[in-house]
């Protein structure tokens, strides 16, 4: 059952990620806005979900496989992030590539924390 929920959620998340990528203008060799946007947004939402589930014990059995593994796991992506960073560096834009890696990792971790805190702040 968990695998089916993950598959369905993953399809929804991937379609949303594809939609964002299609909607944003792309410039070859430019800053990968679409991936950064979905990854930071997804990190914020997983933080919110973590906070909500921590406040709801016992948590509903469907929530983690469907929302965390499926929807948000599928919405965000590591492979596009890694390949884009490599391609930027490969084109000689090493500083841009390093900035992209830093913005993704630091921004992602801070977004998770912000999501958790937003829920904790509301619960008080």
């Amino acid at each position: 059952m968990a695998y089916l929920l993950a598959a369905l959620g993953g399809a929804l998340g991937a379609l949303a990620r594809w939609g964002v990528a299609e909607a944003l203008p792309r410039s070859p060799g430019g800053w990968p806005w679409a991936t950064l946007l979905v990854n930071l947004g997804g990190c914020l939402l997983i933080g919110v979900l973590t906070g909500v589930l921590a406040a709801r014990r016992p948590e509903p059995a469907w929530a983690r496989p469907f929302l965390a593994v499926g929807v948000l796991g599928g919405y965000t992506t590591y492979s596009a992030f890694a390949v884009e960073a490599v391609l930027l560096a490969d084109r000689g834009a090493v500083v841009l590539a390093a900035g992209y890696v830093l913005a993704s990792v630091l921004g992602g971790v801070l977004a998770v924390v912000a999501g958790v805190r937003a829920v904790r702040g509301r619960a008080r």
Partner: protein
């Protein structure tokens, strides 16, 4: 048509990621190790696909955006880091970030280089 291909690829990628993180947890490892494994593997496959430079658009949608995009995850990576720090395993969190970056970027670069 593209949307269908993305969805089909995703429906294979997400359960496979769940399986790998569960296998990591079952063998008494941190589930983050499973996330690391899928992120590195997916980066290598996408590297090969984009390194080819001539893959048909349906393959890019099915395998690239759908399967690799969904097999790998950034939200679980971020959540793993925050969880490890909250468990006061700061050293492991740093090692996890370093391994994800070094292995993930190396896998993507190796995939690209291999395909060219």
């Amino acid at each position: 048509m593209t949307a269908l291909l993305v969805a089909v690829g995703a429906m294979a990628g997400a359960p496979l990621r769940l399986l790998v993180t569960r296998l990591a947890a079952r063998s008494h490892h941190d589930p983050a190790l499973g996330t690391l494994a899928v992120n590195v593997a997916g980066s290598a496959v996408l590297g090969v696909l984009l390194g080819l430079g001539s893959a048909p658009s349906w393959v890019l949608a099915l395998v690239g955006t759908g399967f690799c995009g969904t097999l790998t995850t950034f939200s679980a990576f971020g959540a793993d880091v925050v969880r490890l720090v909250e468990e006061r395993a700061v050293g492991r969190a740093l090692a996890y970030v370093t391994a994800s970056l070094v292995l993930g970027l190396a896998a993507a670069a190796a995939g690209c280089a291999l395909a060219r």
